[in-house]
Subunit: 289 residues, 2 copies
Amino acid sequence: MINIQQLSLEVSIGVDTLRIWERRYGFPNPERDSRGHRCYPDEQVEELRVIKKLQLLGLQPNKIFALSALERKDLLQQEQADEGSDNVFVQQLAAELNPTEIDHALRRLLQQLGLEEFIHQAAVPLIHVLDHGWANNSISIAREHLVSDRLESLLKEQLKIGELETALHRLLFLTLSGERHKLGLLLSALLFQQQGLGSIFLNEELPLSEVPPLAEALGVSAVAVSFSAHYPTRQAKKDLASLRNSMTPEIKLIAGGYAVRKEFIMPNLFICSELEKIPSLCKKLFHDN
Amino acid sequence: MINIQQLSLEVSIGVDTLRIWERRYGFPNPERDSRGHRCYPDEQVEELRVIKKLQLLGLQPNKIFALSALERKDLLQQEQADEGSDNVFVQQLAAELNPTEIDHALRRLLQQLGLEEFIHQAAVPLIHVLDHGWANNSISIAREHLVSDRLESLLKEQLKIGELETALHRLLFLTLSGERHKLGLLLSALLFQQQGLGSIFLNEELPLSEVPPLAEALGVSAVAVSFSAHYPTRQAKKDLASLRNSMTPEIKLIAGGYAVRKEFIMPNLFICSELEKIPSLCKKLFHDN
DNA sequence: TAATCATAATTGTCCTAGACAAAATAGTAT
DNA sequence: ATACTATTTTGTCTAGGACAATTATGATTA
């Protein structure tokens, strides 16, 4: 029995949205405490997780609420079926809970494959399996966090801070306040680094207004920002416009992630949603052969 | 000119709180756009930062709003004066912006002092200076993030994941959704590790309901949670009660941080707000000499 | 058939203004 | 000084309304 604020944090749905869904669709349908405040039972929390996942798959609330709870669950299962991962090793990793073993396995793999191949053949599939397992409820949130935490640590170790000074161009990678998903951005940072650029990866989320002064103080050639599916597209659009507006045009702006659309066209804003396109983007931006 | 949502993220004050301050104290005093939505000019954002800092120092909004903008600034300066750090090296670190040099300096220091001394003599003072510089506006938010980011990376490398299996007791360190401050908890994790315990430090914030299953799956002897000054005390209290209630009593619960009060008395809940007390708490919890 | 555009429906965030429990402060008695 | 009580103060909740931006739908044209 949790209140609306806690629920909002649990399922990553805004408080206002939760209330208006109740008004419009009759769900969630919380009980009330003595003061008339909403109290959500566990089952509704779980149902909202399902709904959120369907929404992230691209369905409108409209359609989602037209379905029964059972139909929703089936739909989620269905989505899972077609995307079965072929990589057994990755499957094992996602299923193994022991942190020590996860760490060892990842390190072994990294040594075998080298960083670039590790990213494409291990990290990306692993992240997919985790996302997918999460959507499908076959992996607990906790386990997902545990594995991605180990992966993140390992990847962060691969950032070469010592070589920043010698690099021709430095890039600043960061997320804005409210964006918690950093793994994709971290992969980008490493791939840019592989292209010979200096990657400064900021782990902490920054308020919008702090970005321009930091970028200028660090003397970077570009700032890369990532917006996950959880970040409202509207907000991402506004944020990028605001950023582009408050930075000198010499500093390029690179945006990526699910919430970023190709239509966000602006001068000196580069959309990069696929890791594969990083080398070509690199050439385009800093033609330093 | 930003909207209320963005402002909330910028200054870490809830949307509801911003509106009720306006109603009660006449500040902030935003303009309105064509739809009647609040638009906050930059100066008010800055003023709110000052107010937030005073609030974190322990002042009630009541008193804060009774002052003029100038008086507020003076008060903040005053608070700064008495806590001048004696450690010149730490001051330099906080002032130096180059990530490479920060990293090198920290590593050198760690090698000189050893982990335990590094924590007490370098990490803790550095965090104080950062906090303090932030409150005093002498360090930009961005710089503060940059330095604490480097410190965090270095400290995370010191966690010995490989020795988890051999340790007699394992501890799980984590923060709940919404709590972004992890440095203090990380220091604790390292000090517990120095006491011979296995520290599992989870970087990602977890929803409340995910903690008990994870703790049991990992077979830990205790869960340590941290709540910073930004986390509402009320919520921390509720969260701890809920956690304690949903975990087997064999798993101890350790809580620390500014938002945690000694009055939060519950069976098998241990409050630990000072790093110095970790060795004795360790003995108390796991009398394994 | 596919692409383009205008229209309609949907969605999430904002609005006002009132209520109240929990926390903090002040006041009083032990 | 300490404990206990009364009084502020504070932040989060409530309801129900509004509307711009996004997405879907249908009509029209190439």
